[in-house]
């Protein structure tokens, strides 16, 4: 016990001593990019031992709120801030895409082991409660050669507000006007059907336990837990499976028409080899931060994250940014008002 106390005392003393020269930056926001952000902060700290970045993964909404209240230096979100939110903020806030993620449909049908094919329309109708049986003609037509049972479809969605839900309903709303008017786009929505599971683990747990169920989870989650998932038809008509390559392809397709503020949804992106349910995740910064010393350090970090940092993305299940987007962001970063 005494030893532990001694070590603890030493650590506290050490940290306290270092604090004099250490630059501490705090941020808060989305949970979805948390694994790669914490990896980045740790790796960056190895390179620059005087920089310590703390990130609280509270959720996108909380990140935006804390940034607006200026209790954190940077925010992070999975869905871009609305124009209204930007107006209400005390200063101009800029969006910087950091990595890409994807959301995949997972299902559990007894005796069906092959990868099922879906279209956006079919997924929208399932989540609207219009397609209720697995042997619905719309599904059997897409999956010829697979014998689908006549059992009910149990729809599983996320119960808590989540960036995953945002990406999922954003895609379904783009495909189906009916879904857009009845459900709409938000981090949590009023689902017409189904049951809610809390978190990716709960959704995948429910789907794996419930015969005849369908759900959606982040690609990383499906990869890490080796859950098989369906392919989704993209705009070019191909049935595309989510991979690091097909997600980056979606971003590359969007880069051509990237708006200056980077607030862009890349679900249902055009082009070949594109996985249609992909999305950026963003770090939010004030254009003219109050603390100039912190801003300088943050800018250096951002430059590192967008270039060298990208190599950590694939191993964690995220897709790295395409070159074109990184170039645009570097130009935008240079415009931060640091003096």
């Amino acid at each position: 016990m005494k030893k532990i106390l001694l070590v603890f005392g030493c650590v506290v003393g050490l940290v306290g001593g270092l604090a004099a020269q250490t630059m501490k930056i705090t941020g808060a926001g989305a949970t979805f990019p948390y694994p790669i952000y914490s990896k980045w902060f740790a790796e960056y700290n190895k390179l620059h031992s005087n920089v310590e970045i703390n990130y609280q993964s509270l959720g996108s909404g909380a990140g935006i709120q804390q940034l607006r209240a200026q209790t954190v230096f940077f925010g992070a979100t999975d869905g871009p801030m609305t124009s209204q939110q930007l107006q209400d903020a005390p200063g101009r806030i800029l969006h910087f895409p950091t990595v890409l993620g994807a959301v995949v449909p997972i299902f559990n049908i007894p005796n069906v082991k092959t990868e099922l094919k879906f279209t956006g329309q079919v997924l929208a109708d399932i989540y609207l409660g219009k397609i209720t049986k697995w042997n619905d003609p719309a599904l059997t037509k897409l999956n010829t050669g697979v014998t689908l049972p006549g059992s009910d479809i149990t729809v599983v969605h996320r119960s808590e507000g989540s960036g995953t839900t945002y990406i999922w309903v954003d895609y379904l709303s783009k495909i189906s006007p009916e879904f857009k008017s009845k459900v709409g786009v938000n981090t949590s929505v009023n689902w017409p059907t189904g049951v809610g599971g809390k978190g990716n683990e709960s959704v995948s747990g429910l789907v794996s336990q419930t015969p005849g169920s369908i759900g959606y989870v982040e690609l990383i989650y499906a990869l890490q837990n080796k859950i098989s998932y369906g392919s989704v038809q993209n705009m070019a008509g191909e049935f595309s499976s989510a991979t690091v390559a097909s997600v980056t392809a979606a971003a590359a397709a969007a880069a051509a028409q990237m708006p200056a503020d980077f607030r862009v949804s890349i679900t249902n992106a055009p082009g070949k080899g594109v996985y249609p349910i992909s999305s950026f995740t963003w770090i939010l910064l004030y254009e003219a931060p109050k603390d100039k010393a912190q801003a300088k350090v943050m800018m250096d970090f951002m430059k590192w994250a967008l270039t060298d940092g990208q190599k950590f993305a694939p191993e964690l299940g995220y897709a790295p940014l395409p070159e074109a987007v990184v170039k645009l962001e570097m130009a935008a970063l240079a415009k931060l008002k640091l003096t």
């Binding site: 949590s188 189904g194 809610g196 709960s202 747990g205």
Partner: protein
């Protein structure tokens, strides 16, 4: 004398502090939910829509879900908890007593997220197989309607019951222990059987036992994590035990961190206010119940209790 005064003032301040905290919570909850209170008024209590996209909010499904799941838990837990308490306090062989007391207290110490995980992986599949094994004729009843998902009111009620039992059982046991031995001896002296003697002890301790049950009820009302993991999180008010539903505490925990829109946030905080008011009402009612019972008991027991006190 002076010390006495200081002591009085000191404790008095602490007592007042408690009142201030309660009033402060109520005030702050109201202040933070003004937008929603102004927009929806009393309709907030009875509308069944919860649509963050359209900005339409009503708390009825959550109020219903909270009360339904808590009452269900109470109905399951109360008899079992009282049974445990009676067994430990009155019938249990001495050797078994300590382990049993230890185990009930251990149950109370398990974090609710652990109950929730157990719920997802053990309880929900069990409930689902129970649901699928029911004949269609029974499934047609309103109480058992809905797809057999496993998640839903029944799973929530069961998990709440398991979580509430140790609390109610522990307190009920303490209450039974405090029944004077003379009561039991008197019962035996009158030729009562063991069952009759225990009934007499239970009757004597009834206010305390009701208190124990109500404490469990209060806990069930506010339980969040375990419930949200098994209830299905669907804002709909249904009679069916199999239907996925939602509770107030669960919706706050689930949606608070992502509620970026002002009205949405205010609606969520108003749910907190509603939960606060309902808890207040439930607690007042249980106080009232205990008070009337105690009052009646004192009147009835007064002549009998007098000589006993003298003897002691």
């Amino acid at each position: 004398m002076k010390k006495d005064l200081g002591f009085r003032i000191g404790t008095g301040v602490f007592g007042l502090l408690l009142i201030l905290v309660v009033v402060g919570i109520g005030f702050e909850l109201t202040r933070q939910s003004l937008l929603s209170i102004q927009k929806f008024g009393l309709n907030f209590w009875r509308t069944e829509i919860w649509d963050p996209v359209a900005g339409e909010f009503g708390a009825f499904p959550f109020i219903w879900g909270t009360l339904y799941s808590s009452i269900l838990a109470l109905l399951i837990a109360a008899p079992i908890a009282i049974g445990i308490a009676v067994f430990i306090a009155e019938l249990c062989p001495a050797r078994l007593k300590q382990p049993l007391v230890f185990l009930t207290e251990l149950l109370a110490a398990i974090p609710s997220v652990v109950y929730g995980l157990w719920g997802i992986f053990v309880l929900v599949p069990t409930v689902r197989s129970l649901e699928t094994s029911l004949p269609d004729s029974i499934r047609a009843w309103a109480l058992f309607k809905g797809p057999p998902v496993g998640l839903g009111m029944l799973a929530a009620g069961l998990i709440l019951a398991i979580m509430v039992i140790p609390f109610t059982a522990s307190i009920a046991r303490e209450v039974l222990k405090s029944v004077p031995i003379a009561q039991r001896e008197a019962a035996y002296a009158l030729g009562a059987t063991r069952f009759e003697a225990i009934s007499a002890a239970l009757f004597y301790a009834r206010t305390g036992i009701v208190g124990a049950v109500m404490l469990g009820f209060g806990r069930a009302l506010g339980e969040t994590m375990a419930v949200t993991m098994v209830i299905g999180n669907t804002p709909q008010a249904r009679v069916s035990l199999f239907a996925p539903q939602y509770t107030m505490a669960a919706v706050i925990a689930n949606e608070f961190s992502e509620a970026a829109d002002e009205l949405y946030l205010h609606a969520l905080i108003e749910i907190g206010l509603v939960l606060f008011i309902i808890t207040l009402i439930v607690n007042s009612l249980s106080r009232l119940l205990i008070w009337t019972m105690g009052h009646g008991a004192r009147k009835a027991a007064a002549p009998a209790a007098e000589p006993q006190a003298a003897a002691a």
